[in-house]
Amino acid sequence: MIRPALVLAFIVVLTVAARSFLPSGVGASTAGAALGFGFILIAALQTGHIFHALRLPHLTGFILCGAIVGPEVLGFIDAESVAALGPLKRVAVGLIGLLAGCELNLRALKPKLRNIAIFAGSGMGGGVVVLFATFVAVISLLPATRELPLMERVVIALICANALVAFSPPVVIGVINESRARGPLTEICVPLVVVADLIIVITFSLTTAVGHGVFPSEQSASGLGALLWHVFGSIAAGLVFGTAFAVYLTRVKERVALFIFGTLFVIAEVAPVAHVDPLLIGLTAGLFLENISPVSGHEVMHETEPAAMPTFTLFFAVIGAELHVHAFMSVVKFSVLAAIARAIGVFVGTRIGARRADSDPVVGRFIAFSMLPQAGIALALATSVKSSYKPWGEAVGTILLGTVVVNEVLGPILFRGALSRAGEIPPEDEGPTSSDPGTRVEPTPIPGPITGDVRPDGGVT
């Protein structure tokens, strides 16, 4: 722990020194992106080590590091540099979707599908019900919404509940990989949150259609058709890119990682313009590769392995840097309330579901914790609410973002704790690892399937 703390301090001092060279009012515009990239990557990795030594997830360290060094707190990374890292973040989202899809072998999942459906339905259902009730009450207190008719407040609460029930496959995969967990709980977590998030994206499209019906705006002109395009267009694009990956992997086989990252960059560039979702595209492409094409999804995982760790570290650190800390502080009481309500809803829902599911008792006890972390999708949905509905979207969206902040920071810690209590984290990973200099560098192993057997050392940590 001392070594990463010293390295972190050293890097911070160097960055502050470099910035002091610049005259006041001049940003490190030309070098900002590279400096921001390097600084946030190194700082996040060191913070991850410190958190690991404290028996906390690396991911929480990455996110908190980003938040602390980001523009809203210490400002070592300015907003411009964070914005310059945006394309990398979108590439990471696509990669996360692709790798999650590649890990989902539907044939292997078939025996667990009933349990997945039960836990997804009960967890989401419980979360939505309690969140809906909470937001009906909260909206009556907010100056921006309390004067609205009851029907409109109900619709707002429905939109908020739907947006906030979203989960985080990247965080779940990341915590599992970094803790090297394996067991019945681990096996069901990833497909559960992936499937649940897919459902949430679709239901959010429908909820938004209802919302635009009640609160018409310029953006609602496109209506349900655009939302259906967002979902099904993404799936169609995913199939196209999945086919392209499969053709490349079978016919070319050279510079596979470059082709995949290049394609993900194209997806990241095209997605906002074409109104499609990089995560859904990546997920569909991964599912196609693993389940339909002759190419194994694990081949893709193996090829992208070297670049996966820096990509994901950067992704989580940038998410942290983008946290609206000041906005969060202004709505902290509502956000904490919503986070508690969500946790209660999910917890009660999965407990009820566990009675009907034919699963290991450990799964029933701890599965709710895999549904607590939130990140990319929840942030996107909250941002969508904030920007789509005027005049109340700003206030309500800020509460949603604040709730995501709470779950983003605490979710990985609680989930890792649940994996530990379920006895699925190997003993050697429970305690702090050696920080001695010159520790032997282990070769990166080829990842194994997560559905039947969690890979021992993934690229995502």
Binding site: V26, I42, L45, E269, P310, V441, E442
Partner: protein, 414 residues
């Protein structure tokens, strides 16, 4: 001229038609990759010696230029803006990779005389270019006091670097060792010259607090390079897994690039110093480290050269004039160097083999000219654009000449 990359705050600027073109570009790239990997195509390109062309990186420059054409519209300003971090980082990574070649233990182990021969082969083309390009620059009204010496040194730096040895020569023993050492050390010399330009021809008012004499900037540059090398060493010593090692190396090089940029130092030179220091420190598994660097170097070069190609303006005739001069003088220097080196050490390959092997220009020359242009920001002059054009023109012509000479040499050998 350094690549002009504009930033757009919104993606809305991208027209919907561009989406289709970008997707079509991807499909075309996929089709080309599949085609290039067909056994028949591979056999044909090997027979023609075409695979050597890719080592110079010029096809990617041309690809970037084509993708940037308005009619094609794939590399739009928005897309280029989003590639900017990779571009800056690529400059640093390439510099770092060149610096890692400067292993003093390896140089000390060179057989007697080889070091002198390498030095001759590196210095001769630089002198030839200095003699030939000087009058051309003067004729183009680039006078002393207006960047004459600076631009001449940059051209000499570009002239030194040769592309990696083409496998079709199938050389072994001291001959291969000599040629490989030349192609490694000439890049180090090129970057060293760029470092001199960055320190001694530093434009005033480049946006930092400090105002130092060149000797002061020399010390700052050396100190920052060494400090960043130590940072990289400390980071890599603490890596626990191979994947973490990659992440830390990427972070370390990006940090070095950003630090150099923030201090208005040359990015590739600073990173090369950090790399050179690391190469001479006891890093665990240094072979694995070199492999990581090489694995990432290719894709980064590709992105770098494609972005340079997208900013390339081949229209000014002055660039062509300098380019032809650079190519001819460089070729003469390489031939002269080969002849002198052969007299110095026995057992070296024949002059024409050395000439054809070292004639192709290294993509590092494009890095140098672009990095030099970035140092010159604020002094809005067309000369930088001419020089970028000249280096690309010289690279293309060198490759064409080397292609025909190589076929003749290899044919004569076999």
């Amino acid at each position: 001229m350094p690549p002009r990359i504009e930033r757009f705050d919104t993606l809305a600027a991208m027209a919907h038609g561009s989406v289709a073109r970008i997707v079509l570009g991807l499909v075309a790239t996929l089709a080309l990759a599949i085609l290039a990997n067909q056994p028949r195509v591979r056999r044909m390109s090997a027979r023609l010696g075409m695979h050597a062309v890719s080592s110079t990186g010029l096809p990617f420059v041309i690809l970037g230029a084509v993708f940037h054409l308005e009619a094609v519209g794939i590399l739009t300003p928005t897309v280029l803006g989003h590639l900017r971090p990779a571009f800056e980082f690529g400059l640093g990574w390439i510099g770092f990779a060149v610096g890692m070649q400067f292993d003093l233990r390896r140089i000390e182990r060179l057989p007697k005389g080889i070091a002198s021969a390498v030095a001759i082969e590196v210095i001769a083309p630089m002198l030839a270019v200095a003699v030939a390009a000087g009058p051309v620059l003067l004729a183009l009204r680039v006078f002393p006091g207006e960047g004459f010496f600076r631009n001449l040194i940059v051209l000499c730096a570009c002239a030194a670097a040769s592309a990696p040895l083409d496998k079709s020569f199938a050389l072994t023993g001291p001959a291969a060792k000599f040629l490989r050492d030349v192609t490694k050390q000439d890049e180090v010399v090129s970057l060293a010259l760029l470092g001199i330009v960055a320190v001694f021809f530093r434009p005033p008012n480049v946006g930092v607090h400090w105002h130092l004499p060149p000797s002061g900037w020399l010390l700052v540059a050396l100190g920052v390079g060494a400090l960043l090398g130590i940072v990289a060493f400390v980071l890599l010593r603490g890596a626990r897994k191979a994947s973490e090692r990659i992440a830390l190396l990427l972070g370390g090089v990006a940090f070095a690039s950003g630090m150099a940029g923030a201090l208005a130092l040359s990015v590739p030179v600073t990173c090369a110093m950090a790399g050179a220091l690391l190469a001479n420190l006891p890093v665990p598994d240094d072979q694995g480290l070199r492999k990581i660097i090489l694995d990432f170097e290719g894709p980064l070069y590709l992105v770098f050269l494609v972005v340079v190609g997208a900013s390339w303006d081949p229209r000014p005739w002055q660039g062509w004039a300098i380019g032809v001069t650079l190519m001819v003088a460089r070729a003469y220097g390489k031939a002269l160097g080969g002849r002198l080196a052969a007299r110095t050490v026995r057992g070296l390959p024949r002059e024409e083999v050395v000439f054809s092997a070292l004639l192709p220009q290294s993509p590092v020359s494009v890095v140098i000219i672009v990095a030099a242009g970035m140092l010159d920001l604020g002094t809005d002059t067309p000369v930088t654009g001419w020089l970028v054009n000249a280096v690309i023109v010289s690279g293309v012509m060198s490759e064409l000449v080397a292609f025909f000479v190589r076929r003749r040499v290899i044919g004569a050998t076999t």
